[in-house]
């Protein structure tokens, strides 16, 4: 136990926790997107998927708890490291240029916070249905209809799109970074990892963006 706590207390160990939880979260995103894309197959496919998940409620809860734990750990570690990093430079430069670092790498906290607020809204929106009381009148698993109704609102569609773009930025740096934090970013692997980071983040974003855009533009509807 002491070795785990000293591991986590060190800045390097803490970064590894961020990397490992990041892997889990990226995995979740991939699975989530695969399910979401069923929207293009029509209402039955999507709603059947949603219902099937509920059929395995105990497993779903295990996954949910695991996901929540990773999410919380990722955020807590990020806050801890950010505090440490701010503390490490008490006096700012009056003039500072960035030579190689990417914008996404320097704005991880910002993109992360927007993604966090999005996740909270997303849960309130579709899982708990607090934001749209009218959803309660729908059938319990009519996910399809909820989506279509929501994304007809330009505000909701825009916020979803914005969040997904920032999520892409977050992943663009995060995926490469996690390999570095776990010590896997070296030699011939470097270009592969960089390409994978860009590819995975862009593909995920395109996938997630396709749904609100398709609905808002009326390509799919009721």
């Amino acid at each position: 136990m002491t070795s785990i706590s000293s591991f986590y207390r060190s800045s390097v160990g803490c970064k590894m926790v961020m990397a490992l939880t990041g892997i889990g979260l990226v995995g979740f995103l991939c699975a989530h997107l695969a399910g979401n894309l069923l929207v293009f197959k029509g209402p039955e496919a999507l709603n059947h998927y949603a219902r099937t998940l509920r059929d395995y409620l105990p497993i779903l809860w295990v996954l949910r708890v695991g996901l929540l734990a990773m999410f919380v750990l990722h955020i807590v570690s990020a806050i801890r490291l950010t505090q440490l990093n701010r503390w490490a430079r008490p006096v700012a430069y009056t003039n500072k240029k960035n030579v190689r670092s990417s914008l996404s790498s320097r704005t991880m906290m910002l993109s992360g916070l927007v993604v966090l607020s999005f996740v909270l809204y997303h849960l309130a929106h579709l899982t708990f249905r607090w934001t749209h009381p009218e959803f309660r009148e729908l059938g319990e698993f009519d996910v399809y209809q909820m989506l279509v109704m929501s994304f007809h609102s330009p505000y909701v569609a825009f916020f979803y799109c914005l969040s997904i773009v920032l999520l892409m930025s977050h992943l663009h740096h995060g995926i490469v970074s996690l390999f570095q934090s776990l010590g896997l970013y070296h030699g011939g692997l470097q270009p592969v990892i960089r390409a994978a980071g860009a590819g995975v983040s862009v593909l995920l974003a395109m996938g997630f963006l396709s749904i609100p855009i398709a609905i808002f533009c009326g390509w799919i509807g009721l």
Binding site: S11, N85, R89, Y93, T94, S181, L184
Partner: protein, 249 residues
């Protein structure tokens, strides 16, 4: 040529500092950046003002003493160049040049542009060595070392410990420095033996000194005058992970 300097002046560690403007006139483009500062200082001394304090020693890019943040970039605009090897021909007539010290909690300002980088030494003291005493060592050719390993170790060992990596990092992280030393030694059979202990001890000391964490922005690699690669940070992370796994058994 003439340039306008904006220089951080700070009397002592605890005194407040501020940017002060100086005109540097009749500068030759063949001068090194530090010789330009020498000239400005001669002018200040002639006026009875205290010259700008800055660290420098070998002036040939190897001792790692010089440490200036020039126009927002550690060691200035030229790649793979220390402040002392930068020449005024890299600037243009009338340019505004901002000069600041390395800024990090672990590198407190002593005066003006001079900072205390002894934190780096304490990190080395925590484990940046091979534990051998003088004498009684095997013949130098007793252990063959593959040439690529020796070359890779040399790449990492080229670090001059100037602290530009810390200065450039948005988190004031010392990971490039620490990883260069860890990489250099862990790539050689002589250093591999205590690799785990070294990585753990050096990372612990690094944290204790108040450096930030590495968020893999690679800004350090871009300003490193000796072009140390961030691949060495990955190597340090591996060593650290290995050490943590070993210690949990």
């Amino acid at each position: 040529m003439n340039v306008r300097l904006h220089v951080w002046r700070q009397q002592s560690a605890n005194a407040p500092g501020k940017m002060v403007q100086y005109e540097a006139t009749d500068i030759s483009p063949t001068m090194s950046f530090l010789e330009m500062l020498d000239l400005v200082n001669e002018g200040l001394v002639a006026k009875g003002e205290e010259p700008i304090a800055f660290d420098h020693d070998c002036r040939e890019g190897i001792c790692g003493t010089c440490s200036l943040m020039i126009n927002g970039v550690a060691h200035g605009p030229n790649e793979a160049t220390t402040s002392c090897q930068l020449h005024m021909r890299s600037f243009h007539e009338g340019q505004d040049i901002y000069i600041e010290p390395w800024r990090a909690r672990a590198f407190p300002v002593i005066r003006d542009l001079v900072t205390d980088r002894s934190a780096f030494d304490r990190i080395i003291q925590a484990g940046g060595f091979v534990s051998v005493n003088t004498g009684g060592v095997p013949d130098a050719n007793a252990i063959a070392i593959p040439k690529p390993d020796a070359e890779a170790a040399m790449d990492a060992a080229a670090c001059i410990g100037c602290g530009a990596c810390v200065a450039a990092c948005k988190n004031a992280s010392a990971m490039l420095f620490v990883s260069a030393k860890v990489s250099h030694l862990s790539l050689l059979p002589q250093g591999k033996i205590e690799g785990s202990r070294r990585a753990t001890a050096m990372v612990a000391q690094m944290d204790l000194e108040g450096f930030g964490s590495c968020t893999n922005t690679q800004e350090c690699e871009a300003v490193c005058p000796k072009e140390i690669s961030v691949a060495s940070i990955a190597r340090l992370n591996r060593e650290f992970l290995k050490a943590s796994v070993e210690s949990s058994h």
